[in-house]
């Protein structure tokens, strides 16, 4: 059930943006891809739009498998996750430990105007679903102060990790920021990954 005390989504993401380390890959999509660039810009950020709904978690999983020396953080909406709940099983089955899924749960298809998801009026236990799929670390937060206080520790729990944040809808002005074009992002991401791979391969 939604309440007026749900975590403001921009502040929820600001906590993550402030905690991101330089060599971490961050994948956002849908609403989060419009908010994140206003908070922080890094060459290892990939704002996956235009995306295919439910594609962000598998794409991040591919990056995590390809770059096991690096942490990968993916921010997904609840509508996207509902389209492919099996992706939670795929993540665990793959054996990755360097992946964190952050679910922004507002019960809505936000970018299409705020229609309810099928889960909006029920109490779907997403963190419980992740635990049942085999995630060793699965937590949820409904309070911004608690999220702020515990986020750093949560991101160091055994991976793969699943974090459900019960959030409010985004203020319209937060969804209007400019995002680099897909071509620019792909070029930047590839360059950053290849440069750093070269460095890591040549290190003694």
């Amino acid at each position: 059930m939604r309440t007026l005390n749900d975590i403001p989504v921009v502040e929820a993401l600001r906590v993550l943006a402030d905690l991101c380390c330089d060599d971490q890959i961050v994948v956002t999509n849908q609403g989060s891809s419009r908010i994140w660039p206003n908070l922080r810009r890094r060459s290892l950020d990939f704002h996956y739009n235009p995306s295919t709904m439910s594609g962000a978690i598998p794409l991040a999983l591919g990056l995590a498998l390809a770059q096991p020396q690096r942490e990968v953080l993916v921010v997904s909406g609840d509508g996207s996750l509902l389209m492919s709940l099996g992706s939670l099983v795929t993540v665990v089955g793959s054996g990755v430990t360097n992946l964190t899924i952050v679910l922004l749960d507002n019960g809505l298809y936000e970018v299409t105007g705020g229609q309810e998801t099928p889960a909006a009026r029920s109490a779907v236990d997403y963190a419980g679903l992740a635990r049942a799929a085999g995630f060793p670390s699965s937590v949820e937060f409904r309070d911004l102060a608690e999220w702020r206080a515990q986020a750093a520790d949560v991101l160091t729990l055994s991976g793969p990790r699943f974090v459900r944040l019960v959030v409010s809808t985004a203020p319209p002005e937060s969804l209007t920021g400019s995002t680099p074009t897909l071509a620019e992002q792909l070029a930047s991401l590839r360059l950053s990954l290849s440069n750093e791979l070269t460095v890591s391969h040549s290190a003694p």
């Binding site: 995306s51 594609g55 598998p58 498998l65 897909l182």
Partner: protein, 160 residues
């Protein structure tokens, strides 16, 4: 068509690092060879729509994935394919088993719509329709890689 050891050898010699799949009855017998390979890794997805973005992430991360599924999965995963191959413009190669292609009397729509749909997408396709065609898989893969484009090998299958 291919045995498990044959297909593992072809994939490995092409430099494929990850095979992202959902098996069918023709592809399924390759599991032991692909899962047991020391030269590539088999990644199992729950739904074909996961396979394309997962392969995209692998590709962006510097690996060389191949997507392997049946035509039914190709149809199911159309939007994911569209996004990865056309929005992201990633040259992901796939091997698609065409169910019932080798059964002339079959009216299986999984066979009927395979070519028209791939044709509508304008994807570069290569049929592997009988054992004599097997070398064409590697040849086509190398041509697509050299051109930096996605490609699809269509492998004729019998009845499930």
């Amino acid at each position: 068509m291919f045995t498990g050891p044959e297909i593992e050898s072809v994939f490995a010699e092409l430099g494929i690092t990850h095979v992202v799949w959902i098996p069918d009855t023709s592809i399924g017998p390759w599991e032991a060879s692909l899962a047991g390979s020391s030269r590539l890794r088999l990644i199992r997805v729950c739904r074909e729509g996961e396979a394309w973005p997962l392969a995209a992430g692998l590709h962006l991360g510097g690996q060389t994935p191949l997507v392997l599924m049946q035509t039914t999965g190709l149809f199911e995963s159309g939007d994911a394919l569209r996004n990865v191959l056309f929005d992201l413009k990633l040259p992901i190669y796939s091997l698609i088993g065409v169910r019932n292609w080798l059964v002339p009397q079959s009216r299986d729509t999984a066979k009927t719509f395979a070519e028209p749909i791939l044709g509508a997408w304008g994807l570069n396709c290569q049929w592997i329709a009988d054992p004599a065609d097997k070398p064409k898989l590697a040849e086509h893969y190398r041509r697509c890689r050299a051109a930096g484009i996605p490609g699809v090998a269509l492998m004729a299958e019998g009845a499930p």
